[in-house]
Each structure stands twice: as structure tokens, then as C-alpha cells.
């Protein structure tokens, strides 16, 4: 199990290096998924199967969704097929593929070696144990995490608001004397602003 732990850890570090050195978001995401799966394997090796499973479900699953979003957003042009071909160059997928095959090898050897319940040392941490801890002594932290998610959601929804929708819904109290700083706004922003004010005058 030590070898499994160290191999997965090395893979995690290499994959994360791939994430932060990658200049293309999709390439970086490929490495990120490998890194997350490697961390999951580290958890398994440490005897925390529940954390490992969560790592796969939550992080790798969520990153997959992120992946889809990035692909959707970057893929809008007419050069889609060309881009797809560019993405599927061996240079792109070779690194993550090698790293994940190492992970697969690690997983298979520990499965075949009948080392299924193996861990480095210490007790196996089950889902039940995690649950009792979370809703016993750590209850306050769970509640704080809930508030944290609420705050993140509110901040994101406020900052991510689309301008046009926003201006139409808002009441303009003061005409506003724009200072020098207001003039530097991007042209596209101004265009949406104009569209919004025309919508406002229609109402």
C-alpha cells in the first residue's frame, strides 16, 4: 500500500504541475481531472474510502461539468472541427493518458494482490464515522459551511448579473455626474448600456 500511496501522490503532483503550466483551459482541465483522481486514490490508500469516493464524485464529477461548460463556451465559432482536431493531437492527451494509466496500474495491482482492505496504518474511516463526527462535535462547522455557500452564491449571482437585465430592473435615482473614471469603460459595455436605456424609455 505504501507504493500505491507514493505512486498516486507522485501522479497527483505531476498532474497538478500540468494544470498550472498549461496555457489552454481544456488541456489544464484534463490534467486537473487526473490530479483529482490521483488524490482520491491517495485517500483510498490511507484508509479513507468515503473521502476517496467523495473526491471522485464531487470533484471529478464537478470538473467534468466545468469541462463541458468550457467546451461549450470556446466552441461557438465556425472553426469547431478544426479546434477539435487541434485538441486531439497526441501531445495533448499523451501526458494525462500516461499519468492515468499509472493510476490504473496502481489500482489493478492492489486489487489483484488481494490487498483490498489495505491501508498504510491507522483505522479505516467509514462513512458512518465521518457522519458522526460531522454532525456531532463539528456541527458548527457544517452550519458555517452552509452560510459560506450562501454567501458565495449571493456574491456570484450579484457579480454575474447581466447588465441589460439589470438596468431595466433598476430604478435610477440620480442622473449621476460621471467623473473621469467612468469614461474608460469598454465600448461593448456602453452598447449594452444604451440598449438597456432604450428599453427603459420604451417602458
Amino acid at each position: 500500500m505504501e507504493i500505491a500511496f507514493y505512486l498516486s501522490a507522485v501522479v497527483a503532483v505531476l498532474a497538478t504541475l500540468g494544470v498550472i503550466t498549461g496555457t489552454h483551459p481544456v488541456h489544464a482541465l484534463l490534467y486537473l481531472i487526473v490530479s483529482l483522481i490521483a488524490v482520491a486514490l491517495v485517500f483510498f490508500a490511507l484508509g479513507a474510502p468515503f473521502a476517496g469516493a467523495l473526491e471522485v464524485i464531487v470533484y471529478a464529477g464537478a470538473i467534468m461539468v466545468l469541462f463541458v461548460f468550457v467546451v461549450m463556451m470556446l466552441n461557438l465559432g465556425e472553426s469547431t472541427a478544426q479546434q477539435e482536431r487541434a485538441w486531439l493531437r497526441p501531445r495533448t492527451w499523451l501526458g494525462p493518458a500516461v499519468l492515468s494509466s499509472v493510476l490504473l496500474l496502481v489500482l489493478l495491482t492492489s486489487l489483484i494482490g488481494a490487498d483490498v482492505g489495505g491501508r498504510i496504518h491507522g483505522d479505516t474511516l467509514t462513512a458512518k464515522a465521518v457522519g458522526t463526527l460531522l454532525f456531532g462535535p463539528y456541527l458548527v462547522v457544517v452550519e458555517l459551511a452552509a452560510m459560506l455557500l450562501l454567501a458565495a452564491l449571493v456574491a456570484a449571482s450579484h457579480l454575474g448579473r447581466s447588465e441589460a437585465h439589470d438596468e431595466a430592473g433598476a430604478v435610477r435615482h440620480v442622473p449621476g455626474t460621471r467623473t473621469a473614471d467612468g469614461r474608460g469603460r469598454a465600448a461593448s459595455e456602453r452598447a449594452t448600456g444604451d440598449a438597456a436605456s432604450s428599453k427603459e424609455s420604451e417602458r
Binding site: 452560510m147 450562501l150 433598476a170 435610477r172 435615482h173 473614471d181
Partner: protein, 476 residues
Amino acid sequence: MTSLLALSPLILVCATAIVVMLTIAWRRHHELTATLTVVGLNLALVAQVVAWWQAPVSVTPLMTVDGLAVFGGVLILIATLACATLGHAYLEGAQGPREEYYLLLLCAAAGGLALVSSRHLAALFFGLELLSMPLYGMLAYTYRERGALEAGIKYMVLSAAASAFLLFGMALLYSRTGHLDFAGLGEALATAGGDGWLMAGMGMMLIGLGFKLSIVPFHLWTPDVYEGSPAPAATFLASASKVAVLLVLLRLLQSSPVQDAWLHSLLAVLAFVTMLVGNLLALTQNDLKRLLGYSSIAHFGYLLVALVVNDGLAAETAALYLVTYVLTTLGAFGVVTLLSSPYSGADASQLHHYRGLFWRRPYLTAVLTVMMLSLAGIPFTAGFIGKFYIVAVGVEASRWWLVGGVVAGSAIGLYYYLRVMVTLFLPEPGMQRRDATTDWAQRAGGVVVLGLAALVVVLGVYPAPMIDWVRFMVAG
């Protein structure tokens, strides 16, 4: 039941956040949202009394409600109340949705309350994140201004990096000691001696917390964020957020005193450098918010002196200094907010906006003058009492270098605080006027600012009640 009562301020603030959120979903109404927020915060302030009756009590292994926690909670709630009132004045003239500000403010206040009563690294981390996360939204609240967006993004990226340092430091400490609670950590550290990993862990935690307090090598974000963000958000960042982080650092240092001579002298050097660099960089600023940013860096340098000494009167001194600092900062930023409120666009924070303010708004000028005097530590203002205690603690512990730093820093500080005051009284130029509304003193924001000014003067002349209260809370 005792635990619930002891945590009632935190619970009330969280509940208010939920109620405000549901009200916004039901109906967008600026006055209603602001009123609900203020009522909830006041209830929480009253609930601090209830919590004080229960104190000292441990709530789960994560939190403790004692004098320091109640003291910090009261200070944070007062600062949040002032920010809510100033935010109301500021947002009245703003475009776009206004109600989310209060929601974010309440969440951040809850984070601060959790932080000051935490006695466990997990609670510390979650409290800190709950304090910072809404601040990203608040700092970039008027995201159509490029400055505000820049401030929000800068704070978010750097704060995330600091959190990573903090977490890694905690992991190192945990791996060496096996404890996450402050008390257990303190015991283990006392017996462990000079272990390289432990030292690295403590250093990394210091980086994480030092970033939030803008201690000097980690201060670069402060002026930009203060300058760009909307004034009420900057007020919260400068007052409540810093109070919470400093108090948790104080609690951490109290329960696990720094044994290591190396780390101890590192803290002293940081304090010294922070005072001098903060004051020196403030000298050439032409923007009042930037200037206040640098001045807050310097003030936390002074506060670090109390943490370095960390015995005898140190906790009381830090608490007392925090009271005077919070009152003064709230007042100074309050004036900036009132001047910026009636306008859209960037805040009125350039010094030339304040040129000749005395001839137009004499009372507002008086408020800003009092705040500047208090920041400089002139006698008969609250700032003097705080600075006096800092010097006294330094002298008592024979930390002459640090005392010299405080004196030199104050001397340099006097120059730029006086420069602001001189600007206020210069004859009015023919440039564009940025002015508070004519009825500013009858509005809630104006009343808050006037009250703060009165408090700063009264506490400067007759500080005994404040000193007694602080001693009672922190020592008792």
C-alpha cells in the same frame, strides 16, 4: 440550552441573513431590507448580553464564548451596524440592485462572530472564509466601476493564496502535533521544542493571517483595494474584518505562546517594519482612501507590539487600541462615504475633492478633523489613549526598538494627517465640487458619523469607562 444561548448572537445574525434573503426574493425594497438588517444586528447586539451571562462556556470543541469573544462580537456588530447605515446612505444614489449588499454584510458579520469565538483551527478557517467570501462580493459591489471590480478580483486572488498558506500551515501543525484545538496545540508546541516542520507550519499560518491584517511584506493589496472598492465595503474591511482576525491571532498566541526565540524576534521585526513602511508610504498619497489604507497598515504595526509583548497588560492594550481604532476608522471612512454618496461613478476620495470643505460643510469637516487627530494620536482624542497604552506596554517590557518605532511612526504620521486637515481649510478652488447632500446631518449616516466623532472626543477626555469595560471583558 446554555450553548444555544451563548451562541445566540451568531445564530441571530445568520437568521437575519436568511430572513433578508427571503424578503429580497419576495420583494425588492431598499428601505425594508436595510431596516430588517439593522433590527437583526441590534437584536444580536442585545443577545451579546445574554451570551455574556453564560460566559465563559465552551460550545462544542470548536468554539468558546468568553469575555474576549463577547468583546470582539460587540465591536464587530457595532462596526457592521455603522457599515449598514453608511451603506444605506451610499446605495441610495447607486444604480443597479442594492439589497444584496446587506445580505453579504450579514454573512460577513457572522463570519467575524464565528472567528472571534473560535478555539479550534477548523472553526478559525471557516470563520475566516465566511468573513472573506462575502467581502469579495462587497468590494466589487459597484462592478461597473473598473476600480471596484479590480479591487474585488485583487482581494479574491490574493486572499485565496493566503488561505492556501494558512491551510498548509495548519496541516503541518496537525501532522506534527495531532491537535487542531488551540489548547492542545499550545501544550504540544510547548513540549515539542524547535522542530523545523512546526516552525514552517507556524510561519505559514502567520503569512495567512498577516495577509488579512496587511502586515508589511503582505500589505501590497491594501491601498489598491481600499481605493477601488465602494466606501462602505472598504469600511467593513478596515474595521470589522481586521478586528476579528486580530482577536483570533491574539487568542492563538495566548493559548499557545510563542516559545521559539526565532519566531518571537520575527514577530518583533514584522511589527517594526510594518509601522515604519506603512507611515512612510502614506506620505506621498493624494487619495484619502489610499492614505487611510497605509495608515491602517501602520496601526496594525502598533497593535503587533502588544502581541509581541504578550503578557501583563498586552491583551487589554490590544483590545483598547482596537476600540479606538475601530471608532476612528468608521468615522473617517464615514465622511468619505457621505461625500461620495450622492454621486455615481468613482468615490470622492481624491484629496482635492476635500479642498475647502470647511467653507461648505463645517460640521462634516469637524468630524473628519477629529478623526484625523485621533488617528495621529493627539491628546484629548481616543487615539491618544490607545497609543499611550501601546507605548506603556512597550516600555514596561523594555522593548526599546519597538517603542522607538512607535514614536518615529507617530511623528511621520502626524505630517500626512495634518496635510489632510490643512487641505480641508484651504480656500475653495474653482473645480468640480463633490459635496455631501445639504441635509446629511439629519440622515442616518450623518447621525452615525456625528455620534462617532462625539464618542472619539468623549472617550479621549474621559476614557475611564472604556478602560474599565475593556479590562472587565478581557481580563474577566
